[in-house]
Symmetry: C2
Subunit: 422 residues, 2 copies
């Protein structure tokens, strides 16, 4: 299995009511196995369109993975389309039916008869269990114009689809490629551009496959090695060591952890309490921190001081400092961080002030001028950055820098020097 | 033109590094013209794959719209693929070349020669101007197995593509359908589910086409009518009147305006100042308000009181109130709203407190219990809601309810009674 084609089905996708995020997830998982996705077809809930999509995909790729159209209603047509294209009968799977009945019984709800549509499986297919919902998936091996092909059919609900890909599809694919063993590791970075990252690491591509993914404000790099099991694991370790060394302070974590999760974990582990004062980020730092369950254990407060009076009265920033240096200045950022830290008795105070735009530039301070500060009992530091981009982008990037300052301070690292361009 | 097929190209799309949002936008615009999208193909930057995608799309649909692959580099292959499939030569368009040279001259930058690749246009195609970037698009009328077809090629940069669709493609398509006139209007709603909306409005579908789009937390409905120009405009007015009446307080705006923009505009027009106190929403309300340019004109401050000490010391919530009623209570929410309003001297104080989960439930207060309060010089009100969903969802929905409270108070409406399920 070297190549794949993805099919997403659903009227809501072709009508533009929903964006297809399933395909991106599947493509990324396949990349970690060294499988190239040649294309993606999105169709409505229409059996002829689905058959056309499957036939076209089977022409070109070893593996076709579809998501959507496995539910109980009459517009769930993926199973019928696959049976038609593959020339297989649909058989009623008693085990699947029993499981569906069991789910309804456990909920104490009557099962609408049409749910048993989901127990119809093409002859010769292997059921892929759904750990969350009622619709199982299946995979089917077939010959198409003399070539070996695989079809994998998954439900469209993202939570169910992702669980099934991780628990069943990836392990099965790994086993399908005998003698080849894949191991991969994801590194989350911040502070380098995608091209900067690739310059830093691309000479390793002889020893491992590197794939970059911009999930702004983080950029991740996945390192995948292929080979005999022990050898592959060893090589992944060696390459990972080099990657960690080269990324240095730009490496924020391994795996799927985001910046706010990394920072949260560090604060929780050390029992440190954080206070935030935001101007240009407008609450985004607090929002991101509190997206993490358990954040009430380390975030004491966040004061969004969107006017100067709040900076002076609530945070205790001297009025004269604002008038002499300007509200967007390293000095005011530092006073805000110190102020909010004292106000709530936190270990760390962090603050932002800046011009998110599109208006509000001042002499010598264009849109994108932002200042970040961090104050603890031991240090008090502040720094100015020049960002470019939309208002949303400047807010997001500034919040990321502020969180990165906390991370770096906890680790005893210097703050980010320069911000790479998008 | 009744049917369309979309093609998105880019290696980053099939590798899962970027999600294709272009197709959804185009599909939605086409829906407003009464054109059905039959499917979407996503391919990498590969000329053979692109040719295959165009050929397949031309089989089934009257109109094929592609985005991506029109840039200056050697992996921009859409123009070549279209020329090949349509059997047209590529001609060098002097006007386009002059415009590209002009853009570089205006920036004072030297133009890399490969930019002139973007001036190659298939014979017989009509150039679609790009008001933002260097890569123009084009449209081509052709005959495919005896059927009339159109190809439209657009760049992949979302900002450029959307501008070109709105300014050129939609007007051209409207003109292509003689005798048929389309008018449409979008209504933004909050507080009803998608199925609740459809129950409320679906009997109008004989007089207009209704399409729903969930852009949580808002759900929009687009009303499209087709007919002779004056008659269509009249009918749209009549149907719009009924829609407005039926939506009542759930109608938050018309067009593309989001809740935070509606609230911001209302506050700015009336010169009202807002202060926010957040517990469970953690800064999200402030973040959303400050996403709107000019929000420093009406948002004074936002205090995220993520621990009880901040509620009492900064916001002046009586300690006894927290111990007797609990931090998640209508009374504490009201005291927070009153406290932050007084602290910064705002006209309106709004506050949230609740349990976003997944942990933290208390007796009688399961995850998803949230309280919202609003205090002005004239009113002081508070209310408890029971939400269901993930932590992110509960935060988002609570922030939406709080903003909706401000909107409704400004308009003299009662607060939202019950929250519809997702």
């Amino acid at each position: 299995v070297r190549t794949a084609f993805l099919i997403s089905s659903g009227d809501e996708l072709v009508a533009g009511r929903t964006v297809d995020t399933n395909s991106g997830f599947i493509a990324e998982q396949l990349a970690s196995l060294g499988i190239d996705v040649l294309g993606i077809t999105v169709t409505g809930d229409d059996q002829l369109r689905l058959e056309w999509a499957f036939a076209g995909a089977l022409e070109v790729a070893d593996l076709v993975i579809s998501s959507g159209g496995l539910g109980p209603t009459s517009d769930d047509l993926t199973t019928d389309a696959i049976a038609q294209v593959a020339g297989r009968r649909l058989l009623f799977d008693e085990e699947v039916a029993a499981r569906i009945r069991g789910i309804f019984a456990a909920l104490g709800r009557e099962m609408p008869e049409n749910n048993l549509r989901q127990a119809r499986i093409p002859e010769g297919a292997v059921v892929i269990p759904n750990p969350i919902g009622t619709a199982p998936g299946f995979r089917l091996r077939l010959s198409w114009n003399g070539k070996h092909r695989h079809i994998v059919a998954l439900p469209g609900v993202p939570r169910e689809m992702t669980a099934m890909v991780k628990e069943s599809v990836v392990p099965w694919l790994a086993a399908e490629m005998p003698g080849e063993h894949f191991c991969s590791r994801v590194f989350q970075t911040f502070g380098l551009t995608e091209s900067g990252l690739s310059e830093l690491l691309d000479d390793l591509s002889g020893r491992a496959r590197l794939s970059y993914r911009a999930n702004f404000p983080e950029i991740s790099v996945r390192v995948t090695v292929r080979g005999e099991e022990t050898e592959a694991a060893d090589r992944l370790e060696q390459v990972s060591k080099i990657v960690r060394h080269r990324l240095g302070p730009h490496l924020i974590g391994e795996g799927e952890e985001k910046m706010e999760e990394v920072v949260g974990r560090m604060l929780a582990e050390r029992g440190l309490k954080l206070a935030v004062a935001e101007s240009c980020t407008g609450g985004l730092i607090g929002h991101r921190i509190t997206n993490v369950p358990g954040s009430s254990g380390y975030l004491l407060a966040d004061v969004v001081a969107y006017c100067d009076a709040v900076k002076t009265q609530v945070l205790g920033v001297p009025r004269t400092l604002i008038s002499s240096r300007g509200a967007v200045s390293e000095e005011v950022a530092e006073a805000m961080a110190a102020g909010v830290r004292t106000l709530v008795g936190a270990d760390i105070g962090v603050a932002t002030t800046g011009i998110a735009g599109p208006h509000g530039e001042r002499p010598g301070k264009p849109v994108g001028t932002v200042c970040v500060a961090l104050v603890t009992s031991a240090v008090s530091r502040s720094k100015r950055y020049q960002l470019r981009g939309s208002r949303e982008w400047i807010k997001l990037f500034t919040s990321q820098i502020a969180l990165d300052w906390v991370r770096r301070w906890v680790l005893g690292l210097e703050p980010l020097e320069v911000v790479g361009r998008r």
